[in-house]
Symmetry: C2
Subunit: 532 residues, 2 copies
């Protein structure tokens, strides 16, 4: 039996519905609107959510890391406890198949538990201690100790394409709470019911942990003014966002142009170019077709790391590769896109590429006779490197299951393409050892353009671990220093605080002589877990 | 014999003087203009400087860390080789006494050598490796490795108040080059001759190291358009700045509003509040007067960490303290301020405070009959906490040798003041153990407001070490994650790059199985120096 949804905003422990303006979820397969109505937050609700967050922040600094870790573990448990209800509603609101949603649910709870472990282990605070030298000449050296602490309350924007893993209880929320930041989530209007179910699970976890209820709030809104009001609130100290370039830039601008500017971590568009070098193409052509098609169509092509551009040397091998790719695309079933906005954006993007007169459609359409209200058809396009280098539009993301094969006349042109691409989350190189030697500059060129370089693989499928970097130069993100996936994501919401000549009792546990938390610390420039 | 200055812009190895627009240094003591004329950079010179920087950046990635370390050491050596000439010109252009300039020279070369050691040691790159699990179900785990690399060319703005340590060859330049970033310096127009002498030393180091000459460029300009053009150049990837709130904010806005936004690390205004708790004041009143006056007047009050606000409980002890402070200020000699702009800004700031009607001048003036063209007089002011809390102007920095004593009616008001202050570089608490227990919340309140908390000391005198944090919430800086002093300053110009399934030969040395650089690496979540 489905849980009855209330449609209200979460203002700490309160459930609030001030506004007459509402929004509803929609089943993208049927096109039908779903119950209930969700109330858009008004200005006073946003104010209260942030104010509760500020109170919770002050309380959070007095809590131990263990208490934050327990909260994160409880959040994972409470989400699992709702389990099937969340999966069902997510499927309804996104059109994603069950396996995908279940997989994403597992990733979401794993992320929460991973950050619990990061907080428990504790070395993420990058503690540094320089011991005093009272007899130093000409002036004594003081006792200096420094660690990372939370910046304050964080606004998190749920992403439509990861309704669990990058939404209400996703990576941004998990890493912010791990850092010690209360969170105010702006729920994505394409999955408000999923958001409420996860939101209630998180709120129960906060209550069970006995933590200040302002640690988690959530507001609804389809109107951009809700988002902007949240970002502009002086009590918000950082923002996590995943979505389109247009929305991400607007939020970045709002954050930067505040009287007090704040860090805005917006993860946005990316074409994730795949460079297929000549020997690899000759040796593994059909395997590359298989791998690329699987990556292009994964999740309806709605992954941030979807490979939207393929670059190769325009020889017979590439022609045969494109032909195979086109055949495979034409034989691919229609997919259901996340919502009408994404569907129409995808079609418009393809039309704009067509209108340039520089691309040829090898495949656009589908042999499938399935039916859905938001159909996405797999498209394969080609263009010359000359056109690609000349027209900016060809380099811009078309969000959906399409890929543009760029054909180069020689090796130098492949490098020119690498040099010209915008910032991206990823770039991929397929090559043999000999290819890599011939194109030795390619790695250096591409590492300035992307956050992650993949060799002989595909960009979709982002491993969640300490060494993952899911970020990249603009327009992939607004902050190339940051990752939104993996343990380093916690660093986005932290900043250093330094104590000079403080008595032991007034220092945080992490910085006292006795290393009671057993963390790695840089003491007089040496990493150690020893006491002082 | 003084070195003959050419007044030209440094465009890599070229010395360029395109523009008819020039500026000159001035001796602040005599008010006289100094030879020669310095040519403001025009648009084409800025373009060329950045383009050389881009070329140098591509070359730098192919250089070993050892080569960067040698370059930094050579820079220190070449500055020392010019030694006295630099000291003389700095004294002329700033009015600083010889001891101060010599001390700052030592700090500057120490910083360059410190960053050489950071680069040699190498662990700053935060290398992280997760080993593959080819048999993992449902999908194999790839091989992921990540480290920090340079963002690209950096624009550095010299600070007027540290003509050596935070100017051409100062901390920003040293940390940027250590990270692998070529630098384009915008020389401060108040010390153009000092800038040229240091610039030539750095250029000789670049040449001696056999590094691309675009690694160091320097442009002159008093017109804000020169600064903005540099920040807006698409080849510039980050900015380091120390100066006023107005200029810093303009540069931050220019960096954030670019088509591709970039990190801008502007270190700006700060009042560095000093909280003197009742028992400490009773026990150490005259010692506190001594320490505070020394800190307020250090370097003509022109330190970023100058204590501009003192907060205490308005009892008889505080009255006696203020009286003593006033007597000491009145007996303090006139100082020479750095330039006429700073002198007039200081006087205007004091006049604005007077105009609020809420402050009383305990001392303003000097018994000294010394003479200088840019006199600064030590000022002591008082105001009630009520006025301080009500009028924003009282909280804003007055750059110069003045301090405002804020008198609170009770302990709660002391905490309200702490809660209300803007972001600052530092806050200081003077107290006994008993004071600290009574004001237990003060540390928590202040740690959200500042970068560094000092106990029973004074904020001036910033130790250069790994644990130093010289930064803080806005308006102290535009990026509270960053420090401009200490080894962590290198992180401002670095960002992660991640390699997935790359062959050993194509990986950077820091990420290969064999840990040939002997650095700390996080391998499968464990810190180790072992090979894999």
């Amino acid at each position: 039996m489905a849980i009855k949804l209330h449609g209200k905003n979460f203002i700490g422990a309160d459930r609030s519905a001030n506004s007459a303006s509402t929004l509803r979820g929609r089943d993208p397969r049927s096109g039908e609107e779903l119950e209930p109505h969700f109330y858009e937050a008004d200005a006073s609700e946003i104010d209260r959510a942030v104010e509760h967050g500020q109170e919770a922040f002050r309380e959070m600094r007095r809590r131990s890391p263990e208490e934050r870790a327990e909260l994160l573990d409880l959040m994972a448990e409470e989400i699992e406890a709702v389990g099937d209800e969340i999966v069902d509603r997510t499927m309804q609101e996104t059109g994603f198949p069950q396996g995908r949603v279940q997989g994403e649910m597992g990733r979401t709870t794993n992320q929460l538990r991973m950050f619990a472990e990061v907080v428990r282990e504790g070395s993420w605070v990058d503690a540094r201690i320089d011991r005093p030298q009272p007899n130093r000449r000409p002036i004594p050296k003081p006792d200096i100790r420094r660690m990372l602490i939370s910046m304050g309350p964080v606004a998190v924007f749920g992403a439509s394409n990861f309704p669990l893993a990058f939404s209400v209880g996703g990576g941004d929320t998990a890493s912010a709470i791990a850092a010690g930041s209360p969170v105010v989530v702006k729920a994505h209007p394409a999955h408000p019911g999923t958001s409420e179910l996860v939101g209630e699970a998180l709120a129960r976890a906060v209550q069970a942990a006995g933590i200040h209820p302002g640690t988690f709030s959530m507001v609804h809104g389809a109107n951009p003014q809700v988002s902007l009001a949240l970002v502009r609130h002086p009590g918000i100290k950082a923002v996590g966002f995943t979505g389109s370039l247009k929305a991400g830039r607007a939020i970045f601008d709002a954050g930067s142009n505040r009287p007090e500017p704040i860090p805005v971590y917006a993860e946005m568009g990316s074409v994730n170019p795949v460079f297929i070098l000549p020997r690899a193409l000759r040796q593994r052509r059909e395997e590359l077709v298989d791998g690329l098609m699987a990556s292009v169509t994964l999740g309806g092509g709605q992954f941030c790391t979807n490979p939207g551009v393929v670059v190769g040397l325009g020889n017979g091998d590439l022609k045969a590769f494109v032909r195979s790719l086109g055949e495979r695309a034409s034989a691919t079933a229609l997919c259901t896109m996340l919502h009408e906005g994404i569907r129409s954006g995808y079609e418009e993007g393809l039309n704009e590429l067509e209108a340039t007169g520089d691309v040829r459609f090898v495949a656009r359409g589908s042999s499938s006779n399935g039916s859905t209200a938001t159909p996405g058809t797999t498209a394969v396009l080609t263009a010359s490197a000359r056109a690609f280098l000349a027209k900016k539009r060809l380099q811009e993301e078309v969000f959906g299951p399409s890929t543009l094969v760029v054909s180069c006349t020689d090796s130098a042109e492949i490098e020119r393409v690498a040099y010209s691409v915008d910032g991206n989350l990823t770039a991929t190189i397929h090559g043999t050892q000999e290819d890599l030697e011939e194109f030795a500059d390619l790695v250096h060129l591409l590492e300035n353009k992307v956050g992650r370089l993949i060799f002989n693989g595909f960009p979709t499928g982002v491993e969640v671990c300490a060494s993952m970097h899911h970020g990249g130069p603009y327009p992939a993100t607004t902050d190339l220093r940051s990752t939104s996936v993996g343990t380093a994501a916690i660093l986005r919401f932290a900043r250093p605080i330094c104590f000079q000549d403080f008595p032991q009792t007034a220092l945080p546990a992490e910085l006292r002589d006795r290393n009671e938390r057993g963390i790695w610390r840089l003491v007089d420039d040496q990493l150690t877990k020893d006491d002082i």
